[in-house]
Symmetry: C2
Subunit: 358 residues, 2 copies
């Protein structure tokens, strides 16, 4: 900077300062930490928000554009990625940014984390930044819970959870609360200690919780089997499923192709999201023409979307043999709806901190 | 909560709290306001960062996935949108979120604003949140400045700026600094007061600055003409251009189709970004088969990318008649590189504030 100091300041002001228009910039933004989000959740029922938003989405009252997807390998060669998912429903506009590296848990970090953003509907300004990891896991489990009810499995007496990390814990904690007739929970994790920790968490007088030695033993015990692993290849064949079971494929892989193709009923959250993503088995099967959209009987059609079941546009087939598959993709607009509900409560209660972005 | 209060607390802890894994969440994030970013820019040369990153991109050393794009109309019926642009180059990974509503300036707000995010390359965690509006405008002007030099127009004596808002001011402030032979600046804005404010800003003993009554008068006066408007339809025909002029199409519209098709040379920042976006004229012309990629002479080929000119993979045609067109799309990876440089300096100087997302 020394060579500039001898010049008149008015001439030497940096060019980017000269360009200032005098209009207001980004301004003040509310920041909600995970603790703030948690406090808001005491007043916001995420299952109700998810149920409502799935129905709104089915009625065409949402915007759900394609996501932005950046992937790379970190220095350990681990799959690492960032996904940006904008969406809008009702008065809520926003974006979910959810990043992950598969090497995070070994380093003591949650696999996935990121930010939720709320936008002002008039100006598009960012109004709120939220910790997104908790709500992402809450939303994912809430979709499965809504799906279990909408597909006709609320009466299940047995639940299997394969993969007992953050998502598995969230699913188990919610479903053991939501299923009044539940009597047994069967757990499997490739790390038995992780499964045992979840078993301890679920301990309840009226519930028999078993940690199994194999994934198949766990799956076979469940009228509902939830897959919350990091598997990227299918290994669960139809023979694993208890007759009439609901297989909830939350993670990427787990279910073998024939388990989709042999299902008595096939449910998803959003047809376009599933069809547009060949990285996941069901999208690949649609791309190959082996699975089709509802009503298209040229191959194996998807039976319904969850939103369509909720609005009555489709009917559930109920408990059906050989098995039923629910395969949510993950709709960012559900997170955006949760962000809106949480941010409204935070505003009402004066929760969170404020940063002035200028 | 009253119905829950009578139950044992251990049984009634919310389900989403039971699901906690004990792994570390989002953690602490540095927040850089516009003032912080401005202070960092005193030590970071954005034109040099943009030049380097364009060359890195040409050498395939970057990741630039498709953007996520959400658009809606606000209550005034104004076009309102959010764009999420992830990208990576060298050690820098991040995302630009840039939102805008065309009704913002009338409400006293900058049209566009948003957040820049830096990600940890190992964990994908968000490490820094920056005010993105200033760097977005700086980046856009820097691309034009690099483009003026790379296409052979550094010797220009006259500059026209059509559209004198934030982008026009930024371009004028930078280009009047970067072009040593500049003697005249011609300005036009549909609001004459806005053009006059920019003229006042540019006042310098060795520069004749004129506010014109029509866009055509301004354009015709410039060896370089920069378009930084909100026009969404082409109106600048080849007859407007001074012979041999460089037309820099920063905004969406402005240039009529024949002005692209008749150009002696056509330059862009990224071929895929331009081709994939039919909302902008050049993408539409490519979609219609009227403009093709470099070396494809079945129609009017694009001559080169800016990065290709910088690495020497392509050669510039220099000043050429009837006119030359530079049409950058806007590469989020350039912003990400700037975020990385700014965040590194902020870390070094201890600038910014910290929020703990938990």
């Amino acid at each position: 900077m020394s060579e500039l100091a001898s010049e008149p300041l008015t001439q030497r002001e940096p060019w980017y300062d000269q360009a200032d228009t005098g209009l207001a910039g980004a301004g003040r933004v509310t920041v909600l930490s995970r603790a703030d989000v948690r406090r808001c959740l005491a007043a916001v029922d995420p299952v109700a928000v998810v149920r409502q938003t799935l129905a709104d989405h089915d009625r065409g009252e949402s915007l759900l554009p394609a996501e932005a997807y950046l992937r790379w390998e970190n220095s350990q060669g681990a799959y690492t990625r960032s996904i940006g998912m904008p969406g809008a429903v009702g008065p809520h506009h926003g974006m979910k940014i959810i990043n992950a590296s598969v090497s995070n848990p070994a380093a003591g970090l949650e696999r996935a984390g990121g930010l939720g953003l709320c936008f002002d509907a008039e100006t598009a300004r960012v109004t709120t930044i939220l910790e997104a990891g908790l709500l992402s896991a809450v939303r994912t489990a809430a979709v499965s819970a809504v799906g279990v009810a909408a597909t006709g499995y609320s009466g299940a007496g047995s639940l299997a959870v394969v993969g007992c990390g953050a998502q598995g814990r969230m699913h188990a904690a919610l479903l053991t609360r939501e299923l009044p007739g539940l009597r047994t929970v069967s757990l499997y994790d490739h790390d038995p200690a992780v499964a045992r920790r979840l078993a301890d968490l679920l301990a309840r007088d009226d519930l028999v919780v078993t940690v199994h030695d194999t994934a198949r033993d766990a799956v076979t015990a469940g009228e509902i089997a939830v897959f919350t692993t990091t598997a990227d290849k299918g290994y669960v064949t139809p023979a694993w499923a208890r007759p009439g079971a609901l297989l909830v494929n939350v993670s990427l892989g787990d279910l073998a192709d024939e388990t989709f193709l042999d299902a008595a009923a096939l449910y998803v959250d959003d047809l376009d999201l599933v069809a547009d993503n060949p990285r996941r088995p069901l999208g690949r099967l649609m791309g190959d023409g082996l699975v089709t959209r509802p009503g298209d009987d040229t191959a194996k059609p998807i039976d319904a979307t969850l939103g369509g079941l909720l609005t009555g546009r489709y009917s559930s087939r109920g408990v059906a043999r050989p098995h039923v598959v629910l395969n949510p993709f993950g709709m960012g607009v559900l997170d955006v709806a949760l962000y809106g509900a949480v941010a409204a409560h935070a505003r009402h209660e004066g929760l969170g901190s404020t940063v002035d972005l200028g």
